[in-house]
């Protein structure tokens, strides 16, 4: 068997970095706010769609900004469904996911796929720079570092603290005079803004936007968050954020290796689902194992008969 080529590894690192932006968004909703927001699947596509149609209309970086804004609005709507209309967060997300599917197609002018070949993209200006092989990677790292830094600063502001506390204990936050509806709206908006931004960059990176490219994104994001937590810890906020990023990269490497081992690409989503199910059930499996070990140590009497 041939070894994985460096180019493949580098490619998977680049993808990992882009998906890390999406995973940071998922981290905000699932972990910081403690809200399982499924809007992600569609807001990812929304970001890709918006940035794709913006190409040719304006500068590609402006397209990214609009993609972020579109995701921000999508997250706001989900949050309004949850906070103002009291629809369960899970259902709000599903409703938005469904609604956005149609909206995404509308944004894309009814085409399920928009190719972006030979168009000015965010990576275009890198062409002709020295060290062409690594410019994309460094550029993506720069973007991620900037987002990570800004997000960290935001979560340390007064508003950021209130937002984090909302996921921990919303009752307490209200008792301290903060409107939790507002913190939830801002949190979900920011979360989906990041997800859409990630979708936009992926579209530019791959050279196309596809209406189904967001399917399963929330699971990939969650997998990244959990892998990061297990491997790199949850001690401080900065560490948690970096862990999410590393988790996204590790996840991408795992997928790359699985593909290299001959797994058909169509099985990808199945594997993702299994990884997340396994990670989520880790605590229960650990407990069962512990109790089984204890029973054995105590003489292994089934049914409690002595």
């Amino acid at each position: 068997m041939q070894l994985i080529s460096w180019a493949t590894l580098q490619g998977s690192l680049e993808l990992g970095i882009i998906y890390a932006i999406m995973a940071l968004g998922v981290f905000i909703s699932f972990r910081t706010l403690n809200i399982p927001d499924l809007t992600v699947d569609s807001s990812f596509t929304l970001g890709a769609a918006v940035s794709a149609i913006m190409i040719g209309i304006s500068q590609p970086f402006i397209g990214l900004a609009f993609a972020f804004l579109a995701g921000f609005i999508a997250g706001t709507v989900t949050a309004l469904l949850t906070t103002k209309l009291k629809i369960q967060p899970l259902l709000s997300g599903i409703l938005m996911m469904l609604a956005l599917y149609s909206i995404n197609l509308k944004v894309m002018g009814g085409r399920p796929n928009i190719p972006l070949l030979n168009k000015p993209l965010i990576f275009s200006f890198l062409q002709g720079l020295a060290g062409a092989r690594y410019t994309k990677l460094f550029f993506l790292m720069l973007i991620l570092a900037l987002i990570l830094f800004l997000l960290y600063l935001f979560l340390k502001t007064k508003l950021g603290l209130a937002l984090r506390a909302t996921g921990d204990n919303d009752q307490m936050v209200r008792a301290l005079g903060v409107n939790t509806n507002v913190t939830i709206i801002i949190g979900l908006a920011l979360s989906n803004g990041l997800v859409a931004l990630s979708g936009a960059i992926i579209a530019q990176y791959q050279g196309f936007a596809d209406v189904s490219m967001g399917i399963g994104m929330v699971i990939i994001g969650l997998a990244s968050v959990i892998i990061g937590e297990v491997l790199f810890g949850v001690k401080t906020l900065l560490r948690r954020l970096i862990a999410v990023v590393l988790g996204a990269v590790v996840y991408r490497f795992v997928i790359t290796v699985a593909l290299w081992l001959g797994m058909p690409p169509t099985d990808l989503k199945l594997v993702s689902a299994v990884i997340v199910a396994g990670a989520l059930s880790m605590t229960v499996i650990n407990e069962k194992f512990q109790s089984w070990k204890n029973k054995r140590a105590n003489g292994g009497c089934e049914g409690g008969q002595m």
Binding site: K158, A165, Q171, M172, A175
Partner: protein, 264 residues
């Protein structure tokens, strides 16, 4: 300072589980008055506090705080002026955040939120100074997560959070009930110190009749959603727990049903 006028609250109206928790309850608190509240299970003590805090919207009546009608003010807005400590030590703090972050959220009460730094160096110095007053050694642990604190430490911290920006009204909902007796005593003493020091208008629910008589300027007893006894100033002096229980039986025509209350 606080005026509660004929408030009513019924839960599950129209269903077989209908329960009248407050039945034309009225209460007036002067500036700086410290009132303790006792009563059996389901007497409406917690409902009274929760209605004042805005957790539940009341069916009838009015609530005024410092001359302002707050009957329909949302909970989070009332909280600008009301400090609260809950029975469950888990309820008052965010466990996955540090002590200083918890205090910072409390300290931001009534100030513009927004994108300014959550904690400044001056804040930390101030928090440490305040924490030192609790005498629990928390001032050296400001960077630790609240999840690592004991129940008593958390309640003391919650108490500090509820009063770090001086509230117009402090509501304590059996805040020592879930603690070990020795720690409960300590938190109770801290409560008394803070209330007296800041001259806070306070309502404290307690199942501990002795504590109810020992602390505060005034003690009220609730039953079936009404206030059935109000011992003020002089009346309160020399009152014993036995006398209270006796009075209760006379007024209600039944034995006190709160085991916890009798035992303590």
């Amino acid at each position: 300072m606080l005026r509660v006028a004929d408030i009513c609250k019924t839960f599950n109206k129209g269903s077989i589980n209908e329960k009248t928790a407050l039945d034309n309850a009225s209460l007036f608190l002067d500036k700086g008055e410290f009132v303790t509240v006792i009563g059996g299970n389901g007497a409406g003590k917690s409902t009274l506090i929760n209605c004042i805090a805005g957790v539940y919207e009341i069916d009838a009546g009015r609530i005024f705080l410092d001359g302002t009608d707050i009957t329909y003010t949302p909970e989070y807005k009332r909280s600008q002026y009301i400090g609260r400590v809950f029975q469950d030590p888990l309820m008052g703090t965010a466990f996955d955040m540090t002590i200083e972050e918890n205090l910072a959220i409390a300290y931001a009460k009534g100030k513009p939120q927004g994108l300014r730094p959550g904690i400044t160096r001056d804040d930390v110095a101030f928090f440490k100074e305040k924490l030192a007053l609790l005498g629990l050694g928390l001032d050296d642990r400001v960077k630790e997560k609240v999840g690592s604190l004991s129940g008593g430490q958390r309640q003391a911290l919650t108490l500090l959070m509820a009063t770090i920006v001086k509230p117009k009204l402090l509501l304590l909902d059996e805040h020592i009930a879930a603690l070990d007796p020795s720690i409960a005593k300590k938190v109770l003493r801290l409560t008394d110190e803070i209330v007296k020091e800041e001259k806070l208008c306070t309502i404290m629910i307690t199942h501990n009749m002795k504590a109810a008589l020992e602390y505060g300027d005034r003690t009220i007893m609730m039953h079936d959603g009404r206030i059935i006894m109000d011992l003020n100033g002089k009346d309160k002096q020399g009152v014993t727990v036995e006398w209270l229980i006796d009075q209760f039986s006379r007024k209600v025509g039944a034995q006190l049903d709160n085991d916890r209350m009798l035992l303590s």
